[in-house]
């Protein structure tokens, strides 16, 4: 873009004025040479102004730049970044992949969430998905690194009678999947995690869970993608404003910076996924925002080394919602303990859930409840300084299963979204399944339950 500085324009003006000073007597002869100079300056002025106008016109016109891509991924969060990474691994390095996000990369939910790598044993299909994905995370750590990967395992803490009865049930679920877990009594629990309150009846320990820092992971995956494929373009602060169509297919993605001609688009926009579909005249996919409050402590104060959940988390958070997600003011919200040690020695304290639309105001009552329950299990946290609290919006899918696959009514349009609280866990497998499906390769895990087509009617 051509830039014309204001300074040069004013210099031209003052130069012109300055050269035309002088007393009246010599004015006549000065006047004619001044006139010439004036005309010359004037022409330069007009020329520079014209250049400036042209440049401004070009930059303000959204369609001024056109380009082509093999694949456009919309949404630069953990899912979009993972999709790009897996596409880069699977496809030829000459494949041009453009990732657009209307804000910073990992700027939305992926920087407002807990980085829980959770393996869920209660359902064979979901176990396949989460277990494979968490194993992929370990591989990503070994290959890429740089995202505070910590294989902490998870302690499912029992408190009530109902919780105590649940422990062997959960234990059996893991065993039935061919995995391992351990039921700890009060004494063993205190030995494993001395920071815990002394009166917790017991817990189930599962070694396979872990913690990552999702926003760093997104960056790591994109760097990894670009390393293998230099034709991966990452474009933050570049909102998608519409599409150009070719019959049912997409012909181009229109963004605020350019028009990208492509037939293959992946929608990985988290809670904003429905809006992208609506730009294509599609019915709204049933993904709804579910707010979660989080608080983080200062450094080197965490009394715990393992990730903690309370057993009621499985009832409250993991099960399908009992509250209608389509209503935005009918949910008082709830909480179940999930606490994570961070690499800098801090502790991330969660986890609340409330359907309240896109409202990102911290719910004071839920935050207090969250801290109260954290103190109950980890008394040392009471004195820990809280540095910040915030809200993240989980994309909740109406049937509690993510959407991973093609959106059949628009050939070439794929959806990777709706993971609720398992987005971080499932990011690698989601990226892999999308990449495999786009490439026409047999998917590593059966994607049938997750095909978005179930909502296309």
């Amino acid at each position: 873009m051509v830039e014309v500085s204001d300074a040069s324009v004013s210099v031209i003006r003052t130069g012109c004025l300055g050269s035309c000073g002088g007393s009246g007597r010599v004015l006549a002869s000065k006047w004619s040479s001044c006139r010439l100079r004036e005309a010359a300056f004037g022409m330069v002025l007009v020329f520079e102004l014209a250049l400036r106008c042209a440049a401004e016109a070009a930059s303000s016109c959204p369609n001024s730049m056109t380009e082509t891509a093999d694949i456009v991924v919309i949404g630069g969060g953990i899912i979009g970044s993972s999709v790009v990474y897996q596409l880069a691994q699977l496809l030829d390095p000459s494949t041009r992949i453009v990732l657009c996000d209307r804000g910073p990369i990992a700027g939305a939910t992926s920087s407002s969430c807990m980085g829980h790598l959770m393996v869920t044993p209660d359902n064979a299909q979901e176990y396949a998905l989460t277990k494979t994905s968490v194993d992929l995370w370990r591989g990503l750590h070994e290959e890429l690194g740089g995202f505070d990967y910590n294989p902490t395992g998870a302690l499912y803490l029992a408190e009530s009678e109902e919780d105590i009865e649940m422990m062997p049930v959960l234990h059996k679920q893991f065993l039935d999947q061919g995995d391992q877990a351990e039921i700890l009594d009060q004494k063993q629990l205190c030995e494993l995690e001395p920071g815990l309150a002394r009166d917790i009846p017991g817990a189930l320990f599962y070694a396979g869970d872990g913690v990552v820092l999702p926003m760093l992971a997104a960056g790591a995956m994109l760097r990894g993608a670009q390393k293998r494929n230099p034709n991966v373009v990452v474009r933050p602060n570049c909102a998608v404003t519409g599409f150009q169509r070719d019959g049912d297919r997409i012909a181009a993605v229109v963004t605020e910076k350019s028009v990208i001609h492509t037939n293959t688009v992946v929608n990985a926009c988290g809670v904003w996924t429905p809006g992208i579909g609506e730009m294509l005249g599609q019915p709204r996919v049933p993904i709804y925002p579910r707010a979660g409050n989080l608080a983080i402590t200062g450094h080197h104060v965490s009394p715990i080394n393992t990730q903690l959940l309370e057993i009621s988390y499985l009832r409250f958070a993991h099960a399908a919602s009992e509250v209608d997600p389509t209503k935005t003011d009918a949910d008082a919200g709830g909480h179940a303990v999930n606490m994570q040690p961070q690499t800098n020695g801090g502790c991330l304290i969660g986890s609340t859930r409330q359907f309240c639309g896109m409202n990102k105001q911290v719910n004071r009552e839920l935050l207090k409840r969250s801290l109260l329950r954290a103190h109950r299990y980890v008394p040392g946290v009471a004195h820990a300084p809280i540095v910040r609290s915030w809200v993240g919006l989980r994309p909740y899918s109406i049937d509690n299963h993510p959407l991973i696959g093609p959106w059949d009514p628009v050939p070439g349009f794929w959806i990777a979204a709706g993971h609720e609280g398992l987005g971080i866990s499932m990011a690698p497998i989601t990226g892999l399944l999308i990449a495999q499906q786009i490439a026409g390769v047999t998917p590593s895990v059966d994607p049938t339950p997750y095909l978005p087509g179930r909502f296309a009617s």
């Binding site: 910073p104 760093l216 760097r223 004071r364 820990a384 300084p385 809280i386």
Partner: protein, 471 residues
């Protein structure tokens, strides 16, 4: 105050007006309001009234001319005396010491005091939280012994502690002078006093000093102190790096060009055991933002400032803001604005007219301050001092290189930089790294930090403080 005393205190206190900050702005407002018979509670993080500029020694200690003070401090002493007069037992002013405000909503200020969670309920709020030193990262700035110019002031004037034997003072702006004189008052050898601005540029401040009697007096006083102690201000110089084993032992200083860019080949090494770096001040605006005040970006006034009307009222009718939080301006500005805000509140509550002299006084002081500060606007070239391996976010130990990589991948906004490397996510919440981080990481040297996103707690407080917060 011991923990035992603190727990006897009421969790909730009430006032007609709540004031944040017991510096000149807060004190002036408090005195006028108290004189009118209103109950005023002033929350301050320190132990005595005075703020930063009129820092007092701990109770029981007195500076009987040992550490020389500039003429402007006479007015400061008078104001403190007035304030403390009203704050004596049973008086209309209650000074709450060691109070850290962590949340604010209409008519409510939550604070932590000695580990106890307390709430101040009030009708009007006056915000006078002041400002803090702008930090420019350079190699070795994280070494113990390298502090801000303001820190040295606090050390000497606030505690009577001798900062070291050989002090290097660097930075830009009028605050370098009081830093130097405080050091001299403490018997410290000032090995060099480096002003990054050129003498030519600083001369732009001359009219505002020359035509203002009080400032003229002040300037003469400083010149005399420097002359007496054979300290010369070096123009167009700054610190390039600090070195030492576990603490600062020497500094590499050199010349900068008119943009502040270091000039290679001009380096000299100088032995020192304490370095005070002050590159201007940044307004503290978090509480105001949390309450709903608007902000605007005024580089001359230090960056993002709260927006107020001609009577210091913010967009929220019961919330007033005075002094540095509306833009850096110094003690006289804060005092005049504090006076004015109090008068406006008295009109709200009692129908008393606001004397036009108060409005014009505040405006005049502000104008004078703006014209002087214009000569010391931040020099973007100073951002070149930090090398790729220089820590730029001290809380999280993030280097410049990581911040740049983060900007390149995640986007060129403050938020994007934070997300990519965690810079600005530590306990100081980007107060220290923020003002320079975005410009450094994106290479756009005039790039001011985006308006910060304000979250609760506004400053770190204990988890139980939030949990036990009265509502």
């Amino acid at each position: 105050m011991t923990s035992a005393d603190a727990t006897q205190l009421d969790a909730v206190i009430e006032a007609d007006v709540g004031i944040v900050g017991a510096g000149p702005g807060g004190m002036a407002a408090a005195v006028r309001l108290a004189a009118a018979g209103l109950r005023v509670v002033v929350l301050d993080e320190g132990q005595r009234a005075g703020g930063q500029i009129y820092r007092q020694l701990p109770e029981g200690m007195q500076n009987h001319g040992v550490i020389q003070e500039p003429p402007s401090h006479d007015a400061g002493h008078d104001l403190i005396q007035s304030f403390e007069g009203h704050a004596q037992g049973g008086g209309a002013i209650e000074l709450v010491r060691g109070a850290t405000v962590w949340d604010a909503q209409l008519g409510r200020l939550w604070f932590e005091q000695d580990g106890v969670s307390r709430l101040l309920r009030c009708g009007h709020i006056v915000l006078a939280p002041g400002a803090y030193d702008r930090s420019i990262p350079f190699p070795g700035w994280t070494l113990p012994g390298v502090v801000t110019a303001g820190a040295l002031q606090v050390m000497v004037r606030g505690f009577g502690v001798v900062p070291g034997q050989r002090a290097l003072v660097v930075g830009s702006g009028p605050l370098l002078l009081p830093t130097v004189t405080s050091l001299l008052g403490a018997g410290v050898e000032v090995v060099a006093a480096l002003e990054a601005s050129s003498r030519m540029r600083a001369l732009r401040a001359a009219p505002s000093v020359a035509f203002h009697a009080a400032r003229r007096r002040e300037a003469m006083w400083y010149m005399k102190q420097l002359w007496r102690n054979s300290v010369k201000l070096q123009w167009g110089w700054t610190v390039f790096a600090c070195e030492g084993d576990g603490r600062v032992e020497r500094a590499i200083i050199g010349k900068v060009d008119s943009h502040g860019r270091p000039r290679k080949g001009t380096e000299r090494t100088i032995k020192c055991d304490v370095v005070g770096a002050g590159f201007g001040l940044v307004p503290s605006i978090e509480i105001g933002m949390r309450l709903g005040a608007d902000t605007h970006m005024l580089p001359v006034r230090g960056g993002h400032c709260l927006v107020v009307d001609r009577e210091q009222r913010t967009a929220v009718p019961t919330v007033f803001a005075v002094g540095e939080t509306c833009g850096i301006g110094g003690a006289e500005v804060a005092r005049a604005e504090g006076d004015l805000a109090a008068a406006a509140i008295l009109r709200d509550l009692r129908g008393l007219p606001v004397a036009s002299a108060l409005v014009s006084q505040a405006r005049a002081e502000r104008r004078a301050a703006d014209s002087m500060l214009g000569a010391f606007a931040p020099l973007p070239g100073l951002h070149d001092l930090a090398r790729p391996d220089t820590i730029v976010c001290r809380c999280e130990d993030i280097t410049r290189l990581r911040a740049e990589e983060s900007a390149a991948m995640h986007g060129e906004s403050m938020r994007a930089i934070k997300i990519g490397c965690r810079a600005g996510m530590g306990p100081c919440q980007a107060r220290i790294c923020g003002p320079s981080l975005q410009a450094m990481a994106t290479g756009v040297n005039t790039c001011a930090m985006d308006v910060p996103v304000v979250q609760v707690p506004l400053k770190p407080v204990r988890s139980e403080t939030i949990l036990n917060a009265p509502e």
